[in-house]
């Protein structure tokens, strides 16, 4: 299963790339998604 895509921008170099999350980013993203908030818990329009 491919990892989600992230936009990565470096303010010093000006580089912007759209790429798969690396392992650290994916783990952190999963931790956030699993913890809070779910669509039911957070306000939505």
């Amino acid at each position: 299963m491919s990892k989600p895509i992230t936009t990565y921008h470096d303010a010093i170099t000006g580089e912007t790339v759209n790429r798969e999350m690396n392992d650290d980013e994916f783990a952190e993203w999963q931790a956030i998604a699993a913890q809070y908030p779910s669509a039911e818990e957070a306000p939505t329009e």
Binding site: P4, I5, A11, T16, N18, E25, A39, E41, T44
Partner: protein, 182 residues
């Protein structure tokens, strides 16, 4: 003097040029365009000792599904983030309070709609060895959010990650400004 009015024929000196042409309150730091169907946006190296406080703006982003933006400061991944405030759906008068327990992001720092989204965030001291604070306002076609928050970590952050709380987002421009200190 923060403002000087020059008169016709007056000599514009190097000192005046250096002082007044660069004396704006908000100074551009960086900007990026959000990609297609991305779950997060990482902006690195945008916070430094040059400024204490920052303004972050976003316009024109579309959510794959309706949801919210979450924001996490780089390197601060613990349950340090508090947020509270209210959101409103247009065309009715109901005020909806929102104040979750501390979590690992500023949750719902802005609304993410399927037609249009925009927000402004004032962020205080992200690169300082002190607690941080933020105030945010955002809108979609149909909803408005107004929140404040704190971050109890005293670690200095140099960037941030903005993510969709459910799925992915596409497009729009994210810009970071610094509040000039002197």
């Amino acid at each position: 003097m923060a403002v000087k009015t020059f008169t016709t024929g007056e000599v514009l000196t190097a000192a005046d040029t250096n002082t007044y042409l660069n004396n704006g309150g908000l100074v551009y730091v960086t900007s990026t365009t959000i990609g297609t169907a991305v779950s997060s946006v990482t902006v690195s190296n945008c916070f430094s000792s040059t400024y204490d406080n920052y303004r972050i703006t976003l316009t024109g982003t579309i959510g794959n599904t309706a949801g919210n933006f979450n924001l996490q400061l780089s390197g601060i991944t613990g349950s340090n983030y508090f947020i509270g405030g209210a959101f409103f759906n247009y065309a009715n008068t109901t005020v909806n309070g929102y104040g979750p327990a501390a979590t690992t992001v500023w949750a719902a720092i802005g609304p993410l709609g399927t037609n249009y989204s925009a927000f402004v965030i004032d962020l205080f001291g992200p690169n300082l060895a002190d607690e941080k604070a933020m105030f945010s306002q955002g809108t979609t076609t149909g909803a408005y959010y107004a929140f404040g928050g704190s971050c109890t970590s005293t670690s200095a952050a140099t960037g941030f990650v903005l993510s969709h709380n459910v799925t992915s987002m596409t497009g729009g421009t994210l810009t970071v400004f610094g509040y000039r200190k002197a």
